[in-house]
Amino acid sequence: MKHKNYLIPGFVLVMLVSLVISASSLKGGGGGGGPAAQRTISVNGIGKVTMTPDIATINIGVHTENEDVAAALSDNNVKAQAVRDSLTAFGILPADIQTANFSVYQNQVYGPQGEMLGIKYIVDNTVYITVRDLAKMGEVLTTLVGNGANNIYGITFDVANRSAALKEARKAAVADAKAQADELAAITGVTLGEIISINTNTASTQPMYSDFGYGGGGGMMAAAPVPVSSGQLIVTVDAYLSYEIH
């Protein structure tokens, strides 16, 4: 008798649990359907625009060495001042000249047997300049070396204002994406609906790769000055478009 009293509640519990399980599985199965998912087509269009550079940046340095630090410095100062003066003479504005490095350090001098002979001092004075008249670039470089610059590196061409090129590239990227979507829709037999999302991404500009040869001439120099060519730059925009399809 006492046995029965425990048994019945036990069965009832099992029943309730199994009913709850069946109820929840019904609910779960029903939830899987939901509203009909949106049918979409996603494409990635690319727009490239070629630009002719109108500015160049470069590091111009004066490097001097001497056993006497004061002599290394005064030698450097004279040449660095001459470099600065010729930059000004070329019409380069103070805003386009920035000291990028001024270093004084000593190097150990070694003899034939590896013995230490003494110390020499080195002074470096480097300016980072922006040249806005590219036609003068070669002449500038030749003159600067003539006036004492002996450590030059990092020439880079750029376009001062690229907003017009970016606008054009964005337009081309969207047009490319749209053309791809039209093409895919035709092949697969669907109809394009509204645009659901648009994302654009501007890749960094890369040198040249002139896909189409338009734009003004680069600044190739005549005989005496350093030959410098500004070539072309390309700005690339990616456009990611999603269309609804029917």
């Binding site: 069965f11 019904l26 029903g30 996603s42 590196y153 040249m208």
Partner: protein, 241 residues
């Protein structure tokens, strides 16, 4: 006592049975059907012979004085530049990528420090649009004073036609796969739900196919443009009926 127990047992069995059949009936979608889908990835490849080559051409000079190193470099660089123009390259095809001047320590036979020498580098990155001239261009620039050349790459200037053909091939591949899978699974293809495309390019071996690259005459530098492969992947998702 003995009467109640069987009734309870029956109830338990019945509720368990209900649980068991609840799941399949829900999955088959009596009220709101779950979507049955098939997703495939199609691949389309088109080989294109490159029509443009890019290469770095540099002049490297060294001298005891910076003025001498620069004068030599300027003369040789100008000759290289002139040669490029004579061979048909335009201003747009030539861009200065390096103009470097720097001092370098000289060492003697025992490793002792001697004087300083100056090094001048002037490099241009050029685009060559007439690949039949590429070998001649390389040969001529070296004879004109170029002594530091690297980084040759080939490309296609307009790949839109190739991309279009590759997209079409990729969709057809995806459609074929989907039909095959549906047939073998005994299902029927419904409407296309999602279409996604992505594309990339990769160099393709020079040994293959038509091989109409820019092989130059033997007196010049032999260069081969080979082929570039334009690849498009398409993901298609179909509804199954």
């Amino acid at each position: 006592m003995k009467k109640i127990t069987p009734i309870l047992l029956i109830l338990v069995i019945a509720s368990l049975a209900l649980t068991a059949c609840a799941a399949p009936s829900a999955a088959s979608g009596v009220n709101t059907p779950a979507q049955r889908q098939l997703t495939v990835t199609g691949n389309g490849k088109v080989n294109v012979a490159p029509d443009v080559a890019y290469i770095n051409i540099g002049v490297h000079t060294e001298a005891a004085s910076v003025g001498e190193a620069l004068a030599n470099n300027t003369r040789q660089s100008q000759q290289v530049s002139d040669a490029l123009k004579v061979l048909g390259l335009t201003d747009q095809d030539i861009q200065t990528t390096a103009f470097n001047v720097y001092p370098q320590q000289n060492y003697g036979p025992q490793g002792e420090m001697l004087d300083i020498k100056y090094v001048v580098d002037n490099s241009v990155y050029v685009s060559v649009h007439d690949l039949t001239k590429l070998g001649q261009i390389l040969d001529t620039v070296v004879k004109s004073g170029a002594n530091n050349i690297n980084g040759i790459t080939f490309d296609i200037s307009d790949r839109s036609a190739a991309l279009s053909a590759a997209r079409k091939a990729a969709v057809e591949d995806a459609q074929t796969q989907a039909q095959e899978l549906a047939d073998s699974a005994g299902a029927k293809l419904g409407e296309v739900q999602y279409i996604n495309v992505s594309s990339y390019t990769q160099p393709y071996g020079t040994y293959s196919l038509k091989g109409d690259g820019g092989m130059a005459a033997s007196s010049n530098v032999p260069v081969s443009a080979g082929q570039i492969q334009v690849v498009v992947d398409v993901n298609l998702t179909y509804l199954l009926k």
